[in-house]
Symmetry: C2
């Protein structure tokens, strides 16, 4: 398969790249690095990217920003940034990319466990992650030509916790998180929210 | 209690009004009717409303628009409208309203079962409803002064199905849906997604 990976330089993305590169041709795209430039917050950038990327069988997104911060401190702009970037940015990869992807292709997006299990400061991220899962469940019903769409919901990544100087004992190594992305690309499910704890 | 009800003219809102008015002072607000004008898609309108509404103990929102339509036909603007209106509009009632609400007050918002059980055409609505539930779960963790926040998730309302000329046999009468709003206002739960099928 020819797989487009967006966010290949991130903690999760770099492990997804390693996991996929053995068996597939992986094309990377990112805001500031990779084979192609893409800014997922801009629909025009997404469309321009797909127009030049050539034929592909899968899109994997390990990209998308959302703001963490106290409810009292987050601004309207912080929410709009989060909605435009991690939520609509990834939804638009599906909306726009479905016109370009090969038959029986797949889209795999990234949400996160804060969708269901919030923490103080996660109101924008929980909104975005849950919204993305709602979108994926619905969009899957309207995919044509055998196209599938799923979303991976990571828990805390061990390397991320270590980088922040937090207790990483409950974190999952990024290489293990990456297995859920491979399962989505190579599997047959659609409309699924893949809990990384359930993918071995 | 003094309860602010937004969307009191709607199918659900009018039954919530009936259910609450016996036991509470209800102040209504809407885009084009009610005791006060409010456009929830505009944070400045929300703030102006709360500044003039006086003291209150509860906000109930049965308001907020989101676009229904085929994935191929919905535009970026349709999604942004939906995110700005039903999602951020209601989230902003909490974000802004928490500065004005009395101690131990409550916010009750409206999502919908399409968050979890989508149908073709619901991609924007499913996104918005699920996102709102994610927000409420998270925001509840940061409420101060005993303030609570919940979201009611209605199934199809019988009167709505009838108005559309659809089979209404599986719909729930709006008066029964209204019980979940009363349960949220008068109860003690917070961060809850109230499934109207579970509230008797």
């Amino acid at each position: 398969m020819r797989v487009i990976l967006i966010g290949a330089m991130g903690t999760i993305g770099s492990e997804v790249l390693k996991s996929l590169a053995d068996r597939h041709e992986v094309v990377t795209a990112g805001r500031s690095n990779g084979d192609y430039r893409i800014d997922i917050s801009q629909p025009t950038s997404i469309e321009a990217f797909f127009r030049q990327a050539g034929k592909f069988d899968a899109v994997v997104s390990a990209a998308g920003d959302a703001r963490f911060g106290e409810l009292d401190k987050l601004t309207q702009d912080d929410y709009l940034f989060s909605l435009t970037n991690k939520l609509m940015g990834q939804a638009n990869l599906v909306r726009i990319g479905q016109q370009f992807i090969n038959d029986n292709g797949s889209f795999t997006l990234t949400s996160g466990f804060l969708a269901q299990v919030p923490m103080p400061g996660s109101s924008a991220i929980s909104m975005v992650n849950a919204g993305l899962e709602g979108f994926v469940r619905a969009a899957a019903l309207e995919m044509k030509r055998g196209i599938r769409v799923n979303v991976v919901s990571p828990i805390w990544v061990k390397e991320t916790l270590e980088a922040m100087g937090w207790d990483s004992s409950t974190g999952m190594p990024a290489a293990q998180v990456a297995r859920s992305y491979v399962a989505s690309v190579e599997g047959t499910m659609s409309g699924a929210v893949l809990d990384v704890r359930e993918i071995k």
